[in-house]
């Protein structure tokens, strides 16, 4: 018995401290990742100029090819995302080197010229922040991976620590001490969504596995990663560059062949070495019906339009990995299932936030004793993250509507608004005295979210954004409720936990 107790005690220690050190980053990862379930909807809202006027993807591909030819004929690669109902513009990328920089433009599918839509990164900013934290990609991914790994440790040690998972399954005591309430909130949000938490952190690590554990592939394939991808059934091998200039078919011609071959419109067309006689154009199709995140491909010789190869049937290992990536991103999920994923994501953010607050509540000084440096630091960081990030999110959306249309580097200013508002909210809430700080932070976030539908109605005011605006209103009202509860009890009540944590970004 005593041995079991000591194991549990050391696991509790591990859970407490592993959760604390990565908690703030994890909260941001959970919030932006949860918002990314509605990445398309966010992007649509942030580019109100784009309407889903039906356009001809074949003609649009040809026009995009002309634009890219003009812009960078000697590129290492082009990528053209064809227009569809969800993304009405043609999105093109072009790059000189496979490690970047990657240039990007949205084209009007009818004219083939850069789109009139406002310059924004839309939902893609939140999506990339989720696993790169807006840092240089390799740094961001390593940091996120380290946090995910520690989260996995925290989850497992948390399960071991929790003695009464089944008896306390539904338990949420509001009538006991604040610490009890926060612990219950942490347990309920953690345990009830435990399948999701375990799945999301594990599959998240799997999506980055080739970066985290490159040794197997490197041992067998050396530097020839392309051969690995081809053999794993992830990519088709293209033609080797021939070192002499060649002429391309119009890209629309290749799209038409791809449609004829598979009976559906490809999602993306990639051209490698477009200026070379050995140029390859690969059509990527949408995920087939199923959990796996796989993209069927057909490669064509870009000068003759002859088929070079197709992605074969993926092997068992590739399929396993693809199903895990698919579960993580939930591209397969229709509206009701997506809502469940979103709810689980919110509960993930709630688990992290309630854990962070619990750490301070459990160590709160009695009466008017001064709080020590460590406690103060954690409390201020909690306020800055749990209270500040929603303010930043709201500011990102508000900036999208309020920044002048023709502002130089407008998309960058939106991102600066996000970080600026986050930082400002964190500093302001840290200046408040202990009893009022949460009320101030949550109230600020509530006002910011409630301002979004008003600003949208004044600046754009389109009926198709009603759903997004209502979601923002709901979020604002929840934050308002949380702020009220925080002010009523001075110390945060457990109930606030639930409300406060629903502030996670949504669309």
């Amino acid at each position: 018995v005593s041995q079991a107790r000591s194991v549990r005690r050391s696991m509790a220690w591990l859970h407490t401290w592993s959760g604390l050190v990565v908690g703030w980053v994890l909260f941001a990862i959970f919030v932006t990742g949860t918002a990314s379930y509605y990445r398309t909807e966010i992007s649509q809202w942030m580019r109100p100029e784009l309407t889903d006027a039906a356009s001809d993807p074949v003609a649009a591909a040809t026009r995009a090819g002309t634009f890219l030819q003009k812009t960078m004929a000697d590129a290492a690669g082009w990528s053209v995302r064809l227009p569809n109902a969800e993304n009405p513009a043609v999105e093109v990328f072009w790059w000189q080197s496979p490690v970047g920089p990657f240039h990007h433009a949205l084209l009007d599918p009818v004219t083939g010229e850069p789109s009139r839509a406002r310059d924004t990164r839309g939902g893609d900013f939140l999506y990339r922040f989720h696993f790169e934290l807006n840092l240089p990609p390799i740094w961001g991914r390593w940091i996120v991976s380290a946090c995910a790994m520690i989260l996995l440790i925290a989850l497992i040690s948390g399960i071991v620590t929790h003695r009464r998972i089944f008896v306390d399954f539904f338990t949420f005591r509001r009538d006991r001490s604040a610490q009890r309430g926060w612990l219950d909130a942490h347990n309920v949000t953690g345990v009830l969504a435990l399948p999701f938490h375990l799945m999301i952190v594990y599959t998240g690590l799997v999506t980055l596995a080739s970066m985290l554990m490159p040794w197997g592939v490197r041992t067998v394939y050396g530097e020839d990663a392309l051969r690995y991808y081809a053999e794993a059934g992830v990519m088709t091998p293209g033609r080797a560059p021939q070192g002499r200039p060649g002429a391309l078919l119009p890209l629309g011609e290749i799209v038409a062949r791809a449609v004829a071959a598979r009976g559906e419109m490809p999602e993306v067309l990639m051209v490698s070495m477009p200026g070379d006689a050995g140029a390859t154009a690969t059509a990527y199709f949408e995920e087939p019906h199923g959990l796996a995140h796989l993209h069927p491909q057909i490669a064509y010789a870009a000068d003759t339009g002859a088929e070079i190869g197709r992605v074969g049937e993926a092997g068992a290992a590739t399929r396993t990995g693809a199903v895990m990536a698919g579960l993580h991103e939930a591209h397969f999920a229709a509206a009701p299932l997506r809502l469940l994923f979103f709810l689980c994501g919110v509960m993930g953010a709630a688990t992290v936030a309630s854990g962070l607050v619990l750490w301070t509540v459990a160590r709160a000084p009695k009466g008017s004793d001064p709080e020590g440096f460590g406690l103060r630091l954690v409390r201020v960081l909690n306020l800055g993250t749990v209270g500040g990030l929603p303010v930043g999110l709201a500011a990102y959306f508000l900036a999208n509507r309020l920044l002048p249309f023709g502002l130089e580097a407008r998309a960058d200013w939106e991102v600066r608004s996000f970080f600026g508002a986050w930082l400002l909210a964190a500093v302001v809430s840290a200046l408040y005295q202990r009893a009022r700080a949460w009320k101030a932070a949550l109230g600020l976030a509530a006002c910011a979210f409630l301002a979004i539908p008003i600003v949208d109605a004044v600046t754009v005011g389109e009926a198709r954004f009603l759903g997004f605006d209502l979601a923002m209103t709901a979020l604002g009202l929840l934050l308002l409720l949380a702020a009220r509860l925080a002010s009523r009890r001075h110390a945060l009540s457990p109930r606030t936990a639930e409300a406060a944590l629903h502030r996670t970004a949504q669309a």
């Binding site: 539904f170 949420f172 509001r174 009830l192 969504a193 999701f196 229709a334 469940l340 709810l343």
Partner: protein, 130 residues
Amino acid sequence: VTTAAHALTLLLAFSGFAALALSLDRHHRAAFRTPVPRRRVGGLRAAGWSGLALAFAAAVGSSGWTFGPVQWVGSLTASALAVVPSSHCRSPPPCCRLRSRIECAAPEDLLRLNRHRADMKRSLLPARRP
């Protein structure tokens, strides 16, 4: 049809979890003021687990073996979350209240009520209306 199937999955899972919650003393007390009678535990647990199993069948039946299990797990989380506030309701529906007054002779229950109700001081059984 899909929406109805999703709703059915949620409803079955919710009922299952509600029965499981009632098989625990704490939540049975919240609803009926008494700890759960021993003879009822087995039935409640069986009902609870069958609710969850039926929810699985509904999810797989409507969404297939690929998406059904995913939908089931998500529905479990959502419906269990919905059970949490309802399993702590402090004012049970009137029919239960009447029964509980007769049944709740356990001293700890009386003490508990005593803390919350001023009129407990005057009579052994709480009388809400004059």
